[in-house]
């Protein structure tokens, strides 16, 4: 692929500058950091009392919060990216310069990825600092794994958001459909899977395999694995996953998320080329 890293770098800086001045982005950073902060503070109140920390409210809530907020951040920021520029005409103007659509796409993706990473680093940094300060016992390496999974989840949702954005002329439409996609990923797919499991008495292998099709489920498994080093908390399915895949499981989950990013970006590239700037 004939791409210029000079152009991509420039577009990344432009995206970062845009993100920094984007009210949505700042809102997300504040909300994410605030929620993480309050959760850590409330959840850690017990550590001093019981002197033993566990996988209780704090960690579970962190996983849940990450699972809900990060896809929403990635999806909406991604959805705004192309559609908003298409809507207000800047997309046409930028592409009228010596810039290829691939460079524009990668510049947007990497720029927004870095912006999301900074939000995660701040949120997770504050949370980890508080946990360590209050005597938490999880290791920093485990925390880095969790952060890595969270970042990959952000990338997947961002790539999905950009894909949806490439399909719409209006930013409102893209954001609307991205929120719907978020609901599907967060609730409806799990509800469907839960109902299917009950109705058809799915086997352990079937449940685990089905879950791998949802990047949010992949993140959830990876996050629990990062924190606990095992998956008994997920019952027989978790035990099956650990026994079947062993130490390769974490890498496999990461590869799956990275695969999702690649597939989504590749599809966006095709759709974007086909549709053009309007």
């Amino acid at each position: 692929m004939n791409v210029s890293w000079h152009n991509i770098g420039l577009l990344i800086w432009k995206e970062l500058l845009n993100a920094r001045r984007n009210r949505w982005y700042l809102f997300y950073v504040l909300i994410f950091t605030g929620l993480v902060l309050s959760l850590s503070w409330m959840g850690l109140a017990g550590v001093g009392t019981y002197k033993l920390s566990g996988f209780g409210r704090t960690t579970a809530s962190l996983v849940n919060l990450t699972l809900m907020i990060i896809p929403l951040m990635g999806l909406t920021l991604g959805a705004m990216s192309l559609a908003q520029e298409r809507e207000n005409g800047t997309l046409l103007y930028v592409l009228a310069q010596p810039v290829s659509p691939t460079e524009l796409l990668l510049g947007k993706f990497f720029g927004l990825s870095i912006a999301l990473l900074s939000a995660l680093l701040i949120g997770f940094g504050i949370s980890g600092y508080l946990i360590a300060l209050k005597g938490g016992t999880s290791g920093f390496t485990d925390y880095l794994w969790l952060l890595a999974f969270a970042f990959l989840l952000a990338l997947v949702s961002l790539a999905l958001g950009i894909l949806l954005s490439s399909l719409f002329r209006k930013a409102e439409a893209a954001i609307g459909i991205s929120v719907f996609a978020w609901l599907v990923l967060i609730f409806f797919s799990d509800l469907g899977m839960l109902a299917t499991t009950l109705k058809w008495q799915l086997s352990i292998e079937q449940i685990f395999t089905l879950a791998l099709f949802n990047p949010l489920q992949v993140f959830r498994i990876g996050a629990l694995l990062s924190i606990r080093h095992n998956l008994e908390v997920l019952g027989p399915v978790g035990l099956y996953a650990i026994r079947h895949y062993g130490h390769q499981l974490a890498w496999m989950l990461m590869a799956l998320l990275a695969g999702w990013v690649t597939v989504l970006l590749g599809s966006t590239q095709i759709l974007f080329q086909r549709r053009g700037v309007i």
Binding site: L10, W13, K14, L17, G46, T49, Y50, K51, L52, G54, F55, R57, N64, M68, G89, T90, L92, Y93, V94, A96, Q97, P98, V99, S100, E103, I114, S118, L121, I122, F124, G125, I126, S127, G128, Y129, A132, L133, G135, T137, S138, G139, F140, I186, F187, L194, T197, L198, Q217, R220, V233, L234, G235, P236, V237, G238, R274, R275, G276, V277, I278
Partner: protein, 770 residues
């Protein structure tokens, strides 16, 4: 020998300690004489073993005190049992016992005790299959021993680090056990297991077929099961700390087929199941009591088989267990007494301030109910959908399950027993500084992105204004040496089913100024976008040999473009905007302010582009288009947003640019922009190129169809319609006026007809059809 020299001192010490009876001897062991000295000793003698390594297997056949000095090593060399006690009332202290055999069938042990009254204390046993193995060793005391099994063996292949069979009145306390299987107390009465620290084992403490035993203040961490008590009576589990016991079993406390046991003040944290109860109590005359325990952060706090009844579950604290109470099997737990417990998920209140909730606590989560139907659903734990399900069950009582239990007076605050054993450092206390690094890294990214990274580095002092006019008279450089032409061949473009361009072909030679002319919707803008390679199309477009679909980016280095509607990134300033595009075009930063000065935007360079007027935006766009001194300019209705003066200046600039030899293609629907400036005019009509003519011949293509609207006095409308229709003009009325569709060249004729017929025309206008 130094010890022999101080024999009198040893004698004094032992006499003072009242350990050695006055008639007892002290036998010193050095070198390879250990078994011989043990055999030679009489009951009550002390065998004092100096530091050193004693390999082999040793048997104590007399009631002696075997004491080590300087941690002598008894090395079993991975064969059989290292030390066997066959005599009663033997004391063993201060030995380091290593490398027993690993044969489970032979029950190879560190120390095997087959007689009552043994006192085994302050020894270190390492790499032993079984540690201390007691049979019929009533009244023995095992204290302060450190025992470590074979870490490299899988748990099923390990032995029990302490195993006691048929031995009553035992005292097992302050031992530290790691990497073994269990601490087993079977077929035992009146024994006490206290203050032991057991980690990384299978069942930390395993009691079976025993009665009247106490398990107290032990620390049981990271085992498969913390403690499992089975088939026993009157066992007390008190004040133990039991945490991180996981794996498939993963019970903190497992209780099976018990009667009249008391489970009190235990801290049970982060196990898969905090307390698991199976068929206890089993006798209808007995009961079980669970009181003042803290069950926190477990996957399931307390799990009972559905037929468990007659249990008193009082004053416990259930804190943040994913499932506070679980049931195995179908049924409810109403046959037990639940009272005064703290429930962290209790949503009631305490209005009278008595420390008890005014509403009962009911365990009625829908997901937990679903789990009873299919255990595989636990896979969805920690998923937002579970919270949604439970919330839905609360909101819609129709799907609310029947409560598993009801606590009529739940506590408002948890009760935490004090003074329980805690690990010194369960896991290494973590440093908080790495987290600060994360925080800083995130902040630095935001800080860097906040800087005006696209800012100009040249100074305003470099700029010399050319006057008030923003139109430049000379471009900053004229480095164009290469000839550039545009070739368009059989280009078709559709949006959906709507054909916008049909078989358009033309070419533009170097230095030509070509106007795309036509009414709105004729396809001019689409044509320009296709030339730029911004839209996919059928056919072929080349700029100096670059195919615009495949090599559009390379070609655009040589093209300056001004769109009809100028839109920039509103979050950037004028300066950032022009620098951004300059860097995309690889234009040196030094010339940028010069361009800004020449288009009259120098003063506005700090403004955000959203604050610019339409005309200022047009100037900025022109400056950007000319930044790289491109040989080709594509302009889409470039004067559409300009006032009259700016428009005249702009057309003058175009003339200059053309004279410099630039190739210019521009779209317009205004004849006054086309005729004086263009070399050729490409007439587009409904997406088709209908003519390629000199400017002066463009008039002949003006006979476009349109609608003539006439307003006549209402009393003359019928007369006007008659006149017009008589002349074959197909006039219609909508009640307010008369409409006639006709060529633009014919638009005066209806007026003449009506005036001649005496109809007074009050108003008229003519609208071109798109």
């Amino acid at each position: 020998m130094q010890i022999a020299q101080y024999r009198w001192l040893w004698m004094f010490v032992f006499a003072w300690l009242n350990i050695v009876p006055s008639q007892a001897r002290i036998l010193m062991v050095d070198g390879a004489q250990l078994q011989a000295k043990l055999d030679a000793a009489s009951p009550g003698d002390t065998v004092l073993v100096n530091s050193g390594v004693y390999s082999g297997h040793f048997v104590i056949r007399h009631s002696v005190h075997l004491l080590g000095k300087g941690w002598p090593v008894l090395d079993g060399q991975h064969q059989g049992t290292v030390l066997t006690v066959e005599a009663p009332d033997v004391e063993i202290q201060g030995l380091r016992i290593l490398n027993s055999g690993i044969n489970l069938a032979d029950e190879d042990a560190g120390i095997s005790i087959n007689a009552p009254g043994a006192v085994i204390h302050h020894n270190r046993l390492e790499r032993v299959l079984f540690g201390l193995y007691l049979r019929q060793a009533h009244g023995s005391r095992l204290r302060y021993n450190i025992i470590q099994g074979y870490r490299e063996l899988d748990i099923p292949r390990r032995g029990d680090l302490i195993r006691c069979w048929y031995s009553d009145r035992l005292l097992i306390e302050h031992n530290r056990l790691t990497s073994g299987r269990d601490l087993i107390v079977w077929f035992t009465r009146n024994s006490r297991v206290a203050h032991n620290d057991i980690r990384n084992a299978r069942y930390g403490i395993h009691i079976m077929y025993s009665t009247d035993c106490t398990v107290e203040e032990n620390l049981l961490l990271n085992n498969s099961v913390g403690t499992y008590v089975m088939y026993s009576k009157r066992i007390q589990l008190r004040r133990n700390t039991i945490a991180y016991n996981r794996t498939a079993s993963g019970f903190g406390i497992g209780l099976k087929d018990l009667d009249d046991c008391r489970i009190e003040e235990n801290l049970v944290v982060d196990n898969r199941v905090g307390i698991f109860v199976d068929n206890s109590p089993r006798d209808v005359r007995s009961s079980m009591t669970y009181r003042h325990n803290v069950l926190a952060y477990n996957d399931v706090g307390l799990n009972l088989l559905s037929f468990v009844t007659r249990s008193q579950i009082l004053d416990n604290s259930f804190i943040d267990n994913y499932q506070q109470v679980g049931i195995t099997g179908s049924g409810l737990l109403q046959g037990n007494r639940w009272e005064g417990n703290y429930w962290s998920d209790y949503v009631g209140f305490d209005e009278d301030g008595d420390g008890r909730g005014d509403l009962p606590y009911r365990s009625e989560k829908l997901f937990e109910d679903l789990l009873l139907r299919n255990e595989h659903l636990r896979f969805f734990a920690y998923s937002p959908v579970i919270q949604a399900i439970n919330f839905a069950a609360r909101a819609f009582p129709v799907v609310k399950p029947q409560p598993k239990l009801e606590d009529p007076s739940p506590r408002i605050r948890p009760m935490i027993p004090q003074g329980l054993p805690f690990p010194e450092q369960t896991r290494a206390q973590q440093s908080r500084y790495p987290y600060l690094v994360l925080l800083l890294a995130g902040s630095v990214i935001i800080f860097l992105s906040a800087r005006r990274t696209l800012k100009n580095k040249s100074r305003p002092a470099d700029i010399h204004k050319t006057g008030k006019d923003w139109i430049m008279t000379t471009p900053p450089s004229s480095s164009r040496k290469q000839a550039f032409n545009i070739e368009v061949e059989d280009v078709n473009k559709s949006f959906g089913h709507h054909r916008v361009l049909s078989d358009v072909s033309f070419s533009v030679q170097e230095g030509e100024a070509v106007a795309l002319w036509g009414s709105n919707g004729a396809g001019k803008t689409t044509m320009l976008r296709c030339i730029l390679g911004l839209l996919p199309y059928e056919g072929r477009i080349q700029i100096n040999g670059f195919d615009m679909l495949r090599q559009g980016k390379q070609a655009r280095f040589h093209v300056g473009f001004v769109p009809q509607e100028i839109r920039f990134h509103d979050t950037l300033t004028v300066e950032e905007t022009i620098h951004f595009y300059a860097r995309l075009k690889r234009v040196p930063a030094a010339t940028i302010n010069q361009w800004l000065g020449r288009v009259g935007l120098l003063e506005a360079r700090r403004k955000e582009v959203k604050a610019l007027s339409g005309g200022m935006r047009q100037r900025l766009a022109l400056a950007i288009a000319l930044l790289a001194d491109p040989p080709i300019l594509l302009l889409d209705e470039p004067t559409a947003n300009l006032d009259i003066r700016s428009r005249d200046e702009f057309l003058a600039l175009l003339r200059e640019l053309k004279e410099e030899g630039r190739t210019i293609v521009y779209s317009s629907h205004r004849l006054d922009e086309v005729i004086p400036f263009a070399d050729r005019v490409l007439v587009l009509d409904q997406g088709k190129l209908i003519a390629d003519v000199p400017p002066l011949e463009v008039h002949q293509y003006l006979h476009q169809r349109g609608m003539l609207r006439l307003t006549v006095d209402s009393s003359q409308t019928e007369q006007a319609l008659h006149v017009l229709n008589e002349a074959g003009l197909k006039a219609q009325t909508n009640g307010r006026g008369i409409k006639i569709y006709l060529d633009s060249t014919q638009k005066v004729r209806p007026l003449e007809l009506l005036i001649r017929s005496g109809v007074k025309v009050l108003d008229f206008d003519y609208l071109f059809q798109n």
